[in-house]
């Protein structure tokens, strides 16, 4: 009996051992087989200025001497790989028709790599350069109209973000180089409340409310703790600007540590199906952003022209001394301006995040466009910033009809320089503001 038991144990142990070996062999086999063969592979990425985005679902074919060797489709990470029978020269072809809308080869001629040579045991990388191409196969009207809508959407985001910068400049004379980072702060806070694993996971439209309040509060805190004391010490304009640069680094890289460098979309509205209106193809969120922004900006306009506080704001922006002597509490007006301006920038950030993705330097990239908008409209005027924002947004997107997409931000610089040469006070500014 004990003998039998021992034998059973022994057999059992041996069978477990054998099974383990067999299991390992099964796992290891494809690895071994893999390493012995040659492959051609690569990663498809759409590169748009500084942004990279994996392109999935693109068909790639490898041929040799006119015969198809293999086909593959790029996966979610844009990766694709095709095993080939051995060392030699192959033709690698990208099926242009399988590219998604808005992605195209940067050089349309290079859809085929005619001589990809693979050495023995090599995993050869074949590269196709993809960029944001124009949507192919649609009517001119659709192209122009769609770009116009995208331009309006970008303009809406710029306009929201610009009003604060312009108003703060109006009441304090400071050009705040950290303003773009308030935009990022808004987008990232909304991410925290809506989509992050440590947050409450609210819908983005609800998460936007605490995010905007947070940025508005941060704006007020900045004014009370930093800018007001500096003004009291009568620090010069140049010094203030350099301080704002320092602050922008603190906020931006603080966000990078907290949020990491990966761009991430919100949980809601990240992917939407195209819709067709009046012959234009667009996504519903673009129209929603435009409509919502126009409403908010109209309310801001009413606030500035119809309420006592808004009028006081414009009075301080016009002439602070005169406003003070007519009984306006200038300090309080400046504080309110900071709170409102930062809150609007935060809202702009949420819109930007919904429209694209949330990224640690999104606001810093937007800052150039914000500057172009406020200078076009007139530094210090709220309505100028709104107008400038829409004009800059539309001009940038529409410019891609005639110039390469990579240069679309350069259009903003063009607008900036032309305005400074022709009418430095901006479209709605008055002459004495340029000093």
């Amino acid at each position: 009996m004990p003998n039998y038991a021992r034998r059973t144990l022994h057999t059992r142990l041996r069978s477990v051992f054998l099974a383990a070996i067999a299991f390992l062999a099964v796992i290891a086999m494809p690895l071994v087989a893999f390493a012995e063969n040659e492959t051609i592979g690569g990663t498809l990425e759409k590169i748009d200025a500084d942004d990279r985005e994996a392109v999935a679902g693109v068909t790639i074919t490898v041929e040799q001497a006119g015969a198809v060797v293999g086909t593959a489709e790029s996966d979610q990470n844009g990766d694709w790989e095709i095993p080939v029978p051995g060392a030699g020269e192959y033709v690698v072809r990208l099926n242009v028709d399988s590219l998604p809308d808005g992605v195209a080869l940067t050089d349309p001629e290079r859809f085929e790599l005619p001589a990809v040579s693979v050495r023995a045991d090599q995993n050869k990388t074949a590269r196709f350069n993809l960029g944001p191409g124009l949507v192919s196969g649609v009517s001119t009207w659709n192209r122009v109209g769609s770009l116009f809508v995208i331009g309006l959407k970008l303009g809406a985001i710029i306009a929201l973000s610009s009003v604060g910068l312009s108003l703060v400049f109006g009441v304090t004379g400071l050009v705040n180089f950290a303003h773009g980072d308030l935009v990022t702060l808004g987008a990232v806070s909304a991410y925290l409340f809506s989509s992050s694993s440590i947050g409450p996971g609210w819908h983005i439209l609800i998460a936007a409310i605490p995010a905007i309040l947070l940025v508005a509060g941060f704006g007020g805190l900045q004014e009370a703790a930093l800018w007001r004391p500096l003004r009291r010490r009568s620090t010069g304009l140049v010094a203030l600007i350099v301080v704002s640069i320092g602050l922008s680094f603190v906020i931006r890289y603080g966000i990078l540590v907290a949020f990491s460098g990966l761009p991430r979309p919100y949980r809601n509205y990240a992917i939407q199906n195209d819709m067709h209106i009046l012959g234009i193809t667009t996504v519903p969120k673009n129209l929603a952003i435009i409509g919502f922004t126009v409403t908010v900006l109209a309310l801001i306009g009413l606030f500035l022209t119809r309420t006592k506080l808004g009028t006081a704001m414009r009075a301080v922006a016009d002439n602070a001394d005169l406003a003070e002597s007519s009984g306006i509490d200038v300090s309080r007006v400046i504080l309110v301006t900071w709170v409102v301006g930062a809150g609007l920038a935060g809202l702009g950030g949420v819109m930007f995040g919904i429209s694209e993705q949330v990224q640690w330097d999104m606001g810093a990239k937007l800052l150039l466009l914000i500057f172009a908008a406020v200078i076009l409209g007139g530094l210090g005027t709220a309505f100028g910033a709104m107008l400038g924002g829409f004009v800059v947004g539309v001009a940038i997107e529409m410019s891609t009809l005639v110039i390469p997409v990579e240069f679309k931000t350069a259009v903003a610089l063009g607008i900036l320089v032309v305005m400074l040469l022709v009418r430095p006070q901006g479209l709605l500014g008055t002459k004495e503001r340029i000093g």
Partner: protein
């Protein structure tokens, strides 16, 4: 935590290649910002134009020395183009246009349109062999203990500090000339200078161009050391390194940029070494990873810049009399 190692590494940085490069770069910015009061936030553009001008010339078959001339000429043209629309306006307009121009220029250099010339994102490599081949220093390590440099680094350092000396002498002559007195007068009171019949716009333009040419020298020097130019090196951050160096050393002083650069790189490397060790030893309770060191360093750098500008705008050792950056 090996304090000695961290201190020595910081000391190496303070006399090494980056310190020399930023001393040069900051001397150019000092002429614009410290002496003339111009708020040039696109200084990195002159560095890039200089480095690319040189690299492309060599890449197209020219000699390195021709490349240096091309780089300087391009930087002078850049200063002219940036100055004309902005120098009649207030300081903040120049700041906005220059920071924008620097970024746009970087986008153009990395675009596929400019790729035949600039080689796109990958950039141009190995263009300074002519300089490195001239190295007369025998192979070996020079210095004491850990504080040592190889023959290549010593050769590059000699070039760097040599350039710093030459430019410092040039600046010494320049700022003591009538021209130098005029630009300082413009910094103190533009209207007063204007009322004395000085062509304020012209002086500012010249200062912007000459400062840019010195910045281009710094860019070329860095490129020669690294044997590599890529567009994404030239981000706006470099401009603000130079700003911090100028303010650290004292704006509008001759030797300020040099001491400023040495202090800056010493502190920078000290912080780097300290944080690397601290994270390895788990001093931050695992809140941060090694990849966070870069961003934390930049955030602290921002705080340092704010602190300096608020409390020591005349530099760490400067007196408050000479320097009052105001910009109306």
């Amino acid at each position: 935590m090996d304090w000695l190692k961290i201190l020595i590494d910081a000391g190496r940085a303070a006399v090494g290649v980056p310190a020399a490069a930023y001393a040069l770069s900051a001397m150019g910015l000092n002429l614009q910002f410290g002496y003339t009061g111009l708020l040039n936030f696109g200084h990195v553009a002159s560095m890039m134009v200089g480095a690319y001008g040189m690299a492309i010339t060599v890449d197209r078959g020219g000699s390195l020395w021709l490349g240096v001339v091309v780089g300087i000429i391009l930087a002078l043209i850049l200063g002219l183009l940036l100055g004309i629309p902005t120098l009649r306006l207030r300081a903040d307009y120049l700041a906005i246009v220059t920071i924008a121009a620097g970024e746009i220029l970087r986008l153009i250099v990395r675009s596929s349109w400019a790729e035949p010339l600039t080689k796109g994102i990958l950039g141009i490599q190995s263009f300074a062999d002519e300089f490195h081949d001239l190295n007369p220093i025998p192979v070996g390590l020079y210095g004491l203990g850990r504080f040592r440099f190889d023959e290549r680094t010593v050769w590059v350092m000699m070039l760097g500090w040599g350039l710093v000396t030459v430019v410092a002498l040039f600046m010494w002559k320049l700022t003591r000339s009538p021209w130098g007195r005029t630009i300082r007068a413009i910094r103190e009171d533009e209207d007063a200078a204007l009322s004395l019949g000085k062509n304020v716009f012209g002086y500012k333009l010249q200062s912007l161009m000459v400062g840019g040419a010195i910045g281009a020298l710094a860019g070329m020097f860095l490129a020669i050391d690294q044997q590599n130019v890529t567009p994404d090196t030239y981000i706006p951050l470099l401009t603000f390194y130079a700003f911090t160096v100028v303010i650290l050393g004292g704006p509008g002083t001759l030797l300020g940029p040099i001491t400023g650069s040495m202090i800056f790189w010493f502190l920078f490397k000290l912080l780097d070494g300290f944080m690397t060790d601290a994270i390895l030893n788990g001093w931050f309770f695992g809140w941060f990873e090694a990849t966070d060191i870069g961003p934390i360093r930049f955030a602290l750098f921002g705080m340092g810049l704010m602190w300096l500008m608020i409390f020591r705008p005349q530099g760490l050792f400067g007196s408050h009399e000479e320097m009052l950056i105001d910009g109306q």
